[in-house]
Structures are given as C-alpha cells and as structure tokens.
C-alpha cells in the first residue's frame, strides 16, 4: 500500500473532526429547539408553540421579515407602489394624511382613519377640493415639525417623472394643473420648474396661513380623494430631498426610522425607534416592537423551512411573500382550514389580485360570442393547473370581496347568463349562444405571457373553447414584453390574460382603470360613452354607501357585456413565527390585511 493512501485517509479524518468542531462553535441557534418541520401534518410530536395570545400586548423585542427579494422595490414615498411594501412602510416609518384600520374584517379594515391629519379630510366644491388639517406634534425623525409645505413638497415630487419614477401618479392625474399638448403636465416637478410653472402647482395645492391645513384643488370631482392621499402624498422635507438617492434613506415621519439599509442577497434593512415620534400625535400606531429587521435574498424554499421550524429568532419572524405550494399541505387541511399544529400562525385568505381574461371588444364585437367564450371556459382545469384550490376562488367580476363595501355578488355564474354555468364549462350552452349571436364560431388568438404554467393554461383554453367550436391559437409572448404588446392596438389579438389589484379599497381603482380609456389599463380597448359617464358619476359621488352601490351596478354591467371574463380571485397563504401575535386577529392570530392583501404589520407584537 502506498504511503500516500494512509496520509490521505488521515487528512480526511482530520477534516471531518474540524467540521464537527466548527459546527459546535458560534452558538448555532438551530440546535436549541426540537425540529418540527418534519412532523406529519397534525402530528403532536414537538409542535411549535401555537398557544393563542392570552396576555395583553407589550412593547419590546425585534420582529424579523424574511424575503427572497434583494431589496424593496422602492422606498421613496413618492415611488413606493408595491402593496406589501406600502403596508410595511405605513406601519413603521411612512405616515400619510389618512390610513386604514387594522382588522381581519375586510369592510372594517377598509375604513379610513386619520393619520397625520386630524380627520379623514373635508371635501367641498362637489369633491373638487379636499382639505386636511395636520395634527399637533407630528414631526420628522430629526424633530422638525411636519408642516403643510412638507406635504405639498412631497406630492410635487411626483411630477418630476424623469427622476421620481415607478410611483403612483394620482397627483398628476387629479390636481388641477394644465396639461401640455402631448398630455404631460405643465408642471415638471420641483427640480426643474420655472417660477411660472411652480406657481401652477402652488395654486393647486395651497397651505393655510398657519401652515396646518393643506388643500388640494382637483381638476375633477374625486369622491375618494381621502383614499388617494394614502398613496404618494407622504411629506418630504425639501432640504433632505436627494432626488434619485432619496430612495436609499428617506426621512421618517413614523415611530421607526431606517437605521441601515443594504441591498442584495444578505442585505438587511434595520428599523429602530424614532425618538422624535410621539404616541400622542399618533392614534393609529402602537409601535410594539423595539426594532424591525428585514433580511433580503433568502431562498424561497429556505424561508418556508425556517417559518415551519420557527426556531431561534425565526419565532419572531414573518415571511414577506406567501408560502410555496409544495408546503401548503403541511400547514393547511384545505384553503380555509389551518391544521392544529399551526393554529394562529397561518392564514389563507384573499390577496388583492383579481385575475381575468380581457376580450378586445373591437375584435370580438358580439356580446353573445364573448359570453360563449366565458361559458365554454374550463375554469376548474385552469385553477388546477395554477396550483389548485389554494390559488384562488372563482371570480364573478373584477371587484373582489375583500375590497369591502363595493363588492356584491354579480351572480355571473348562477343566473346572469340564463342558467348556472359549471366550473368545468358548458360547451353545449356555449354553442347555443354562438347560434344566437347570428355569427359563425370565431377563430381567435390568445395572448399570454409565456411560462410553463401559462403554456399549460393556454392548452386548457384551446381545448375547452374548442369543444364549443371556437378555434383558439395561442400566442405566447415573452413575459417582460407582454404588456408592451397587448397595450398596442396594432399588436394585441382577440383576448389574453390580465390581472389587477386595487390601489386602495375603493372600486374607483378597479372599474375606471380597467374599463375606461382614461384609466390606463383598458386592455379590452373599451370606450363606451354611456359607461364612461356612469363611471364619472360614481367617481364624483361623495356619499360612500351610494357610491358603493354604483360600483356594484357597474361591475354587473361589465359582466353582462362580458368585456372581461373573470377567472379567479387570488389567494395567499402566509405564516408567522410562534413568538408573534396580533392585537386584532382571532385569538391574536395572523390575518391578511384587506387594504393591501398583506401582513398586518402595525398590529403585530412579540409575545411576552
């Protein structure tokens, strides 16, 4: 035997011993709790703590957020536009004039509360003017008071679209400032505006003499403008505005401030208490934890494993996005039932997205044909393909139940089309509708963003509509280019996939965007003058219950005309660590917060 053989073996043995020694060093937290993730569903062996919160919430501790993303999409208050991000920011550092209510009940959650303002706004002039009075004692993280000028300046940044990008543009859409011939605003934002241009903005957003009341003068009546101001109207101190770089370190107005923010895999955002925030000025937030830590760039499978195990610091963690489909059976018996081992820690509920197939009304002009498409569609197979029952419930319109009072059942799949339509489709009835249309069964092209799941979905659509005699040719489009194709009237075909999430819990952010040219997301290419007039009337209606009824009626009208074929109301499944609880949730358990379809960040605390 060659000496090198035994030397090799000795070396390997030393390596193994060294590895074991290293694993014992550094205080591995993973060894301190019994493993739970491998327990069979419902097993009682070493489950994580699921006892409901029975003690009053206390301040203290650190809450962790685990996310696969490398960073937040945008942190700048005029650029942040992702629901989960907005929910987190508004709970921690980003106050706005108004905010929503923490409640697992969706209609309650969608009720506005005053935040920076003393109330939820006062409309005058038929809701063309809105005034908000700032509370006493509201300040930025450096202790300087938040004034009307700061709110006005923050909103003005939206107009600098060549610097402040990707954010909500409601300020541009609603404020009474003239437009240029090309449709852009005559006010280019605070960085480039001449004195005359700035005067245009200063006329649309005015401050009272004492600097406490900000008034917005709108170009049209907007009955829910007090909802609009939750999005992109947070105050920014002009002296601290660094433009493009403000996205890295915005100034806090809330109970926490950003201590550090590094992006990329392994990056973190640490939020610590803002010593200049006063509870007296903030009836909205209780700010229970002392600290928040967001960990970026963690593999999604690893996040699920950590949340299931809930050991060490992960007991005080939440996953930022939903669970992976392959782990759902470990936690849920069905989309409505959490297994006992995870009671209080898990939730399965609607997110904010409604999925649908848009139908180009200029190419599929006959309503009976559009109805036939809907009737023939095998929605059951589409749902199975997308992930099964956990993926979502069957949609009956584009307004979703968790939006609150604007939702009412449309009866689309029960009585509206003349008879109940099964989830698997009714090709025979579809053929009857085609016959009633007076036209031959059409040949259509289906546009969709390509992925393996979408390819299978396209095959289901081809097959199910084919049973009714409708010939469908799938047109897969690279995902990144999908919208640039389907928004082009020259390139879009007869129908395709769509999805939409309301910007705030009012159907004014659903019906107008999807069904009017002005709204900006009208994939069906609809431009119906009578419908547009009804939409305008609903937008101007200041009596909320009356407005809700108007939206419900408009939703029914879109379904009667089948301008889109609704498919699913999306659902999400989230987990939180065993060491956390909520104030408003059932037995202190986790719930999905309706306004953003998110975790209820402002309602969380570390269990004593």
């Amino acid at each position: 035997m060659v000496r090198s053989d035994t030397r090799w073996l000795r070396g390997a043995a030393i390596g193994v011993v060294a590895t074991l020694a290293l694993s014992a060093c550094g205080g591995s937290t993973a060894t301190s709790a019994p493993p739970a993730a491998t327990a069979a569903p419902g097993a009682t062996a070493a489950p994580p703590s699921t006892a409901p919160a029975t003690e009053a919430p206390k301040t203290g501790g650190t809450i962790y957020l685990l996310t696969n993303s490398e960073q937040f999409n945008r942190v700048d208050p005029q650029r942040a536009y992702t629901g989960e991000d907005l929910a987190f920011f508004s709970a921690t550092w980003m106050r706005s004039l108004t905010a929503y209510t923490y409640s697992p009940d969706d209609p309650t959650a969608s009720k506005l509360q005053p935040d920076l303002a003393t109330d939820t706004g006062t409309p005058t002039d038929g809701a063309k003017t809105w005034a908000f009075t700032l509370r006493d004692g509201v300040s930025f993280e450096d202790g300087s008071p938040i004034t009307c000028a700061d709110v006005a300046y923050g909103a003005s940044r939206t107009f600098a679209t060549d610097v402040i990008s990707e954010g909500p543009t409601y300020a541009i859409a609603y404020l009474d400032i003239p437009k240029n011939a090309d449709g852009s605003s005559a006010y280019p934002g605070p960085y480039k505006a001449t004195a005359d241009q700035q005067a245009l903005y200063d006329k649309a957003v005015t401050c009272s003499a004492d600097g406490k009341t900000v008034s917005f003068h709108l170009s049209q009546p907007v009955a829910d403008f007090n909802y609009t101001v939750t999005l992109g109207f947070s105050p920014v101190p002009k002296a601290a505005d660094t433009g493009e770089n403000y996205d890295k370190k915005p100034v806090s107005s809330g109970p926490y401030k950003i201590d550090s923010y590094t992006t990329g895999n392994g990056g973190k955002m640490i939020l610590v208490r803002n010593s200049n925030w006063s509870q007296a000025s903030d009836t909205y937030r209780q700010a229970y934890p002392d600290k928040w830590e967001v960990d970026f760039g963690i593999d999604v499978a690893v996040i699920d494993q950590r949340m299931l195990a809930s050991t060490g610091n992960d007991q005080y963690a939440l996953q930022y996005a939903g669970m992976q489909p392959e782990n759902l059976a470990t936690v849920f018996a069905d989309p409505k039932t959490v297994l006992p081992a995870f009671a209080g820690r898990a939730v399965s509920a609607y997110d904010i997205y409604a999925r649908y197939l848009w139908v180009n009304v200029n190419k599929v002009k006959n309503v009976k044909i559009r109805q036939a498409m809907a009737v023939a569609l095998d929605r059951s197979a589409l749902r199975k393909n997308a992930g099964g029952d956990f993926y979502g419930g069957y949609a009956d319109g584009t307004i979703k139940p968790n939006i609150g009072m604007d939702y009412a059942p449309t009866n689309l799949w029960t009585t509206m089309l003349g008879k109940p339509i099964p989830d698997t489709g009714d090709p025979e009835y579809a053929k009857q509708l085609i016959a009633e249309s007076g036209e031959a069964a059409p040949s259509l092209t289906y546009d969709y963003g390509q992925s393996p799941v979408a390819d299978r979905g396209a095959a289901i659509i081809v097959q199910s509509l084919g049973l009714a005699g409708i010939t469908v040719t799938p047109n897969p489009i690279e995902r990144g280019k999908y919208y640039s194709v389907v928004f082009d009237p020259e390139k879009a075909h007869e129908f395709g996939t769509g999805g939409w999430g309301a910007d705030w819990p009012n159907a004014s952010t659903v019906i107008p965007p999807l069904f009017t040219q002005e709204g900006g997301w009208d994939l069906s290419q609809l431009d119906d003058a009578a419908f547009n007039a009804k939409v305008k009337a609903a937008q101007a209606e200041t009596d909320r219950p009356t407005q809700a009824t108007m939206w419900q009626d408009l939703n029914v009208e879109t379904m009667e005309n089948m301008w889109v074929i609704p498919t699913f109301f999306g659902m999400a499944q989230n987990l939180m660590g065993s060491g956390l609880a909520t104030v408003a949730g059932p037995d202190g358990g986790l719930y999905l917060w309706g306004p953003y379809g998110s975790n209820p960040y402002g309602d969380l605390y570390v269990k004593p």
């Binding site: 290293l22 301190s32 990008s165 954010g167 760039g297 963690i298 950590r306 990144g480 280019k481």
Partner: protein, 330 residues
C-alpha cells in the same frame, strides 16, 4: 517569454475592447423597451418617455456608446435633473437605476463572495478529485476503483439544487448542525464565515470532484502504461515519485485546462448554489439583474465574466509551459 506575454496582453486588450463594444450594442439592439419595462405600474406614453430620459436612452446610440466608453476612463454623471446628480467615478461601468448603485461597486461587493466560494470549492474538489482519481487508477478494477467511480457517477448525476436543498434540510433544519447561512466576510467573523460556506463548498465540490476523479483516473491510467513510467520504476524510483512526478505530471495538461476554465466559469457566479444558500455573490446578482431587466448590471456582469474567461485562458497557456517543458511559448 517576455515577448509572448506582451503579445498576449495586447491581444487581450483588443479582445476586451471588441467585447465591450459587442456587449453594448447587443444590449441596445435587443427587442424590448427598457424604458417601458422599468417604468412601473402607471405607464402612460409621457411617463415612459420621461423614464427613457431618466435612463439616458433618449440619446442617439452612438452618443450613449461614447458616454459609456468615456465613463470607463474619466467617469460620468447620471440623473442630471436630480437635486443630487449621481457622479460615477472612473472606471464607470454604468449605473443601476433599479438598485440605485453604480454597477462596478455592486459587482465588486459581490465578487469576493463568489471568489471565496469558488476558491474554497476549487481547492476541495481538486484535492479530493485528483487524489481519489489517482487512488482509483492505482486500484484499477478492484472494489476501491469501482466504489470511487460509482461515487463519481452519483455526484456527477445529482443536480446542484438537489444536493443543496438536501443539505439545508438535513444538516441545518433537521439535525441543527449548522445555523442558517448568513454571509459575513472571513475577516469579520471567520467562524460564521466558515459555517456559512461549508455546505456551499461541499455542493460545488461534490459536482466537480466527480468529474476530476474520472479525468484524473483516465489520465493516470493512460500514462502509467507508457514506457517512461516503466523506465522510472525500473530505475528504482519510489512509487510516489513515479506517480506524482512522472505519471500525473504528464497527464496534467487536460486537468489544468479543465481546472482553469472551470474556475473562471465559477468566478462568474455559481448561480444555483448562491441562491440556495443566500450568498450575495455574482451568480445571484446576475440572476436577479436578468429578472429585473437591469441592463447596465447585466452588461457589467457579462463583461466581467467574459474578461475572466479571457484572462484564465492566458494563465492556462502560461501554465502549460511550466508543466510541460516541451511547450515553448512563441
């Protein structure tokens, strides 16, 4: 030798220039509109044009190219309309508007992670692969040889994500032998660094060691049968000297070629491994930049990776002359 080096370095520079030009124009002629892709949810035509101006894409392509090249030598400024324009010092490879950072610092921050990952795994797989390959060759046909070849076949067949997730599940979650990976610099906390890197090293080493076991075994077997090896044994040289200095050395050329290219490729980022273990390396950065349509960053990483391959080729060519005296660099 000096003349050879000078010629090769000049050739490298020419190649890098051509590469830079090709990458730049390639990304500019790709279908798709970056201004539309990155303008967010509220994308009216005027918003898209404003975003195009923000990204500097509203200028003629040649002007953009000129600024890109100038930026490498003298730096450039982005977002001139912002109250605080962004100054990108030379060598400036561009600015990632998606991440709010200059491309070169982003890459340089990720590069050490990938470097440590690649080098650590490289050392392990070379040591394990070559030593087991030699051992298998010396035990040809016997159970040790068969066992090693079976192990190499299994290691070669299993995808990295499978090995990685298995290790995470058993070593970290189930047995709790190591904490969840959380990368720190080895200078900041060497113990945490090693705890984080052990499993990724093992994943990469398992895959590559399998290949090197087979390659080494085949090379050694080939040379063991040669006359000069018989002569060396007949001269009474120790077996270790025969194996290492004669048999292995003669068979090193393809091993060196493969090792050099493998290492260069790995320095561009082990995408799957970095993602599974949440390592903030170049591979993870590359994948995320593609998902985000972050073209400046994609271009920067492409340039870096291609440059590494070009450089690695030079090193490998130089090593040939060291290993094999018959090779003369001319």
């Amino acid at each position: 030798m000096a003349g050879y080096l000078v010629r090769r370095v000049l050739g490298m520079l020419v190649l890098l220039f051509l590469l830079t030009t090709t990458v730049f124009f390639l990304f500019n002629i790709l279908p798709g509109d970056p201004a539309r892709l990155t303008c967010g949810k509220a994308c009216s035509p005027t918003i898209i044009e404003a975003n195009r101006h923000r990204l500097g894409l509203d200028e003629p392509v040649l002007t953009q190219y000129g600024k890109f090249v100038a930026g490498i030598f003298v730096g450039r400024t982005f977002s001139p309309d912002s109250p605080e324009p962004i100054v990108c010092s030379a060598p400036c490879l561009g600015y990632s508007f998606k991440r709010g950072e200059q491309v070169l610092p982003l890459i340089m921050r990720s590069a050490p992670v990938t470097f440590y990952l690649a080098i650590g795994a490289f050392v392990i797989w070379l040591v394990v692969g070559i030593s087991l390959g030699i051992y298998a060759a010396l035990r040809r046909g016997r159970w040790q040889d068969r066992l090693i070849m079976t192990i190499s076949l299994v290691g070669y067949s299993l995808p990295s994500f499978f090995i990685g997730l298995l290790l995470v599940f058993f070593v970290i979650v189930k047995w709790g032998l190591l904490p969840f990976p959380s990368y720190v610099s080895p200078f900041e906390n060497p113990v945490q660094f090693t705890q984080t890197m052990i499993l990724p090293w093992m994943v990469l080493a398992a895959l590559n060691a399998a290949f090197y076991m087979r390659l080494t075994r085949n090379q050694v077997l080939e040379t063991l049968g040669d006359d000069y090896v018989r002569t060396a044994r007949a001269k009474g040289l120790p077996e270790r000297t025969v194996i290492v200095h004669h048999a292995l050395r003669a068979g090193l050329t393809p091993i060196v070629t493969a090792a050099g290219l493998d290492l260069a490729y790995l320095l561009g980022g082990a995408i799957i491994t970095e993602n599974i273990f949440s390592l903030p390396g170049l591979g993870a950065l590359a994948v995320n930049s593609i998902t985000d349509s972050d073209l400046p960053l994609i271009a920067g990483i492409t340039l870096l990776t291609a440059s590494l391959i070009i450089f690695a080729n030079l090193i490998v060519d130089l090593l040939y002359a060291v290993i094999d005296p018959r090779v003369r660099l001319a």
